[in-house]
């Protein structure tokens, strides 16, 4: 095993390929947080008074909150006054055409392999790129607007569609929900707003790429997706960030609302800078994602592939309020080096005959620590609720850790809740078998790991599935033996 471990070590250590910094002038607030900062953010974004009030209320509430400490993650204390809460590219372009976008920004996206050009149209993907805090380019607005779909930045939505934003924002994740949600509600910079009208099937996959670029800039995304009765939408979110020495805090809030017979599919591939081999740098990712299956027969599906960040704290959840509503959670979380992930989901069954499925695949390599934390709650009124949870951990090497924390609360005797959990290792027998068939150790590992994650990858839109597989291969390069 000794030899195997050192081989594994070299295999795992692959440099972060997305580490570069774009030279672009920024308009950045000095670090620190108080009411005046919030007023500045709000006024720079030309927000209406009601939005400012919402922010201030959240801020006041946050001031009296404690950072949560129950997750199996360890990190130095976060200095919330050491962070700048606003950064926007100075040359703010008009959104009409890509030609007006700063070429430096476009070059950055090129390096990341994000084609903002028309090829995306052929691929059927519209892109709303978020660079630091301000959306700089939006494409395919027209074909979307023909269908009546609203797909724009949150700032724009606040100005252009205030009644929709007021009606729904904070109804799924209120600012009182948790520490990071409160912080986000106070200082959120920008994000994405999606509205699918009644009966409309969104004509293309919606996709956003996030990128944190400014040193010391916290990024606080705010996303709201509303699917009206009988509508359908699939939203893809992909993230990478350049290499940085200091830890960067990311505390996003995502709210999904599915009305009667509506379907929302939300997929994430997250590849933020995980920090170096000593654990320096890396993104702290504290995210609150929640979907509300408000209408009968509505369905919300979360799929996530988490390979980046130094610390991940994330529980995309479903509130199954509608009768016969369906919630799904498919997750692959990879931790290597000193990465830590505490992730899982919450399925809250309130409606009759509501069903939920949880498939969680945790992969730990080197000294990585991976925890699945999942809550399945069946309320007293939820007749015939059903949940199936499958929670598998794969260990690579003998210094990593996997934890499983299932919480099950059932208040209705007709409920059926199943929990299956397995822990396995990439075995020497498997590696020998593959190598004897001519595969390198690296390919063998990548194949075995991809096999392990297959059920989740199958849930991703095709384009993302390929990307996710590649990402996994890159993440685990040098990870095994």
């Amino acid at each position: 095993m000794g030899l195997v471990d050192s081989e594994m070590e070299t295999l795992i250590r692959s440099d972060y390929a997305e580490g570069f910094v774009t030279q672009i002038e920024s308009d950045t607030l000095p670090p620190g947080l108080d009411e005046s900062v919030i007023r500045t953010i709000s006024s720079r974004k030309q927000e209406p008074e009601w939005m400012l009030e919402k922010r201030l209320a959240a801020y006041q509430f946050w001031l009296n909150m404690q950072e949560p400490d129950w997750a199996t993650i360890r990190h130095p204390p976060i200095d919330f006054n050491g962070i700048s809460y606003y950064s926007s590219p100075k040359k703010k372009p008009q959104l009409d055409s890509l030609d007006e976008v700063d070429p430096e920004l476009l070059a950055t996206y090129e390096k990341l392999g994000i084609p903002l050009e028309e090829q995306k149209a052929l691929a059927g993907v519209a892109v709303d790129a978020v660079f630091d805090s301000v959306s700089v380019a939006t494409t395919f607005r027209e074909s979307l607007s023909e269908a009546g779909v609203i797909f724009c930045s949150m700032s724009e939505a606040i100005r252009e569609y205030p009644s929709l934003v007021q009606q729904y924002m904070g109804t799924v994740v209120p600012h009182k929900d948790n520490f990071f949600a409160a912080l986000n509600s106070a200082v959120f910079s920008d994000g994405t707003f999606v509205y699918i009208p009644r009966g409309v099937k969104c004509p293309m996959e919606l996709s956003t790429y996030f990128r944190i670029n400014e040193a010391n800039t916290g990024q606080f995304e705010r996303t709201l997706i509303i699917a009206e009765e009988g509508s359908q939408v699939s939203y893809l979110e992909g993230c990478t960030a350049p290499m940085r020495d200091e830890n960067q805090l990311h505390a996003a809030v995502v709210e999904l609302v599915a009305l009667e017979d509506a379907r929302i599919k939300y997929s994430t591939v997250q590849n933020w800078y995980p920090g170096d081999n000593q654990g320096r740098g890396g993104i702290y990712n504290f995210v609150t994602k929640r979907g509300d299956c408000r209408g009968d027969r509505s369905r919300i599906s979360w799929t996530q592939v988490e390979t980046g960040s130094a610390v991940t704290w994330k529980y995309p959840s479903c509130i199954l309020r509608g009768k016969n509503s369906v919630g799904e959670f498919y997750s692959v979380a990879v931790t290597k080096g000193l990465q830590q992930a505490d992730t899982g989901t919450k399925m809250i069954h309130i409606g009759e005959n509501s069903h939920s499925t949880i498939v969680s695949k945790g992969i730990s390599a080197m000294q990585g620590s991976n925890a699945y934390r999942g809550l399945v709650r069946v309320a007293a009124k939820a007749e015939n609720a059903r949940n199936h949870t499958q929670c598998d951990s794969l260990l690579i090497g003998d210094q990593c850790a996997a934890h499983t924390f299932p919480y099950i609360e059932v208040k209705n005797p007709t409920a059926r809740v199943e929990h299956e959990a397995t822990t396995s290792k990439v075995s020497e027998d498997q590696l020998f078998y593959c190598r004897q068939r001519g595969l390198t150790e690296e390919n063998a590992v990548s194949m075995i790991v991809n096999g392990f994650c297959k059920e989740v990858f199958n849930e991703l839109p095709m384009e993302f599935a390929v990307e996710a597989q590649k990402l996994l291969a890159v993440s685990l390069e040098g990870a095994v033996g």
């Binding site: 030899l3 195997v4 075995s427 020497e428 027998d429 498997q430 020998f432 078998y433 593959c434 190598r435 004897q436 068939r437 001519g438 595969l439 390198t440 150790e441 390919n443 194949m447 075995i448 991809n450 096999g451 392990f452 994650c453 297959k454 059920e455």
Partner: protein, 250 residues
């Protein structure tokens, strides 16, 4: 093709092979027999490059190269194939994808072009029929939930597809009923050719009723204690291993 001289090897300090000598030429089929613990499987593992064995002495040359210097996958690239006694399950890894990746890895290492999807499919269907492997199993995960017989058929399928120079079958007959044994043997016989060598490791003589060896070697305590023709296997069947082991001591 393969030349083993005075091979001595141990596991965790325990000597398993105590000086093996063996010459295998292209076109030959060698049977290696012997009681449990005689070192048959260890020999197969060392030849195919499995970790965990220490070679203490001796040499192994394969196609003019020092075999022991080569990585496991490099040996596969040079045409060594081991049909395993206990084929491993690879959950979630599609059987056909695995086989294709394997073929292409080997082709790539040899500087050959990858096999195109159409001819691959044709070939794999044809070979699956020959080893009577249900086509459904091609679409499942590698060996996952396969019966013992299905796993062995799958090994032979892989062997036929990869067309090795030197195929080593490690107790491929164990756990097979007579029909499966016959099918597996038929597959192996199809591969017999003047430029290919086979080493069949087995405990029982019955496999050799179907795969007729040119040479039979009997291993005991990590040594070849007797070599002969096909008749030796029959003699063993009749008299058991003790007869030879006693002879060796005497």
């Amino acid at each position: 093709m393969l030349s083993i001289k005075n091979l001595k090897a141990s596991v965790d300090g325990k000597a398993i092979l105590n000086g093996i000598d063996l010459e295998v030429n292209a076109g030959e089929v060698h049977a290696i027999m012997g009681p449990n613990g005689s070192g048959k499987s260890t020999l197969a593992h060392i030849l195919s490059g499995r970790d965990g064995y220490t070679v203490n002495d001796g040499e192994v040359h394969y196609l003019g190269q020092n075999l022991l210097d080569l990585e496991t996958e490099a040996r596969a690239h040079r045409g060594i194939f081991l049909a395993m006694q206990y084929p491993v399950e690879l959950p979630g890894v599609n059987n056909m994808t695995f086989l294709r990746e394997s073929m292409n890895a080997i082709r790539k290492a040899r500087g050959e072009a990858e096999i195109d999807a159409v001819s691959f499919m044709k070939q794999v269907r044809h070979r699956a029929k020959q080893v009577k492997l249900d086509e459904k199993l091609l679409k499942r995960s590698v060996n996952t939930g396969f019966s013992g017989g299905e796993k062995k058929r799958n090994e032979i399928l892989q062997m036929m597809m990869l067309e090795p120079q030197l195929a080593i079958l490690d107790e491929t007959d164990s756990g097979l009923d007579i029909d499966a044994l016959r099918t597996v043997a038929d597959g192996v016989n199809l591969l017999r050719s003047p430029d290919r060598a086979l080493i069949v490791v087995t405990h029982y003589q019955r496999l050799l009723d179907y795969i007729e060896p040119d040479f039979v070697h009997v291993l005991a305590s990590g040594r070849v204690i007797r070599s002969g023709g096909k008749a030796l296997a029959l003699e063993l069947e009749e008299k058991g291993y003790e007869w030879l082991q006693e002879g060796a001591v005497a």
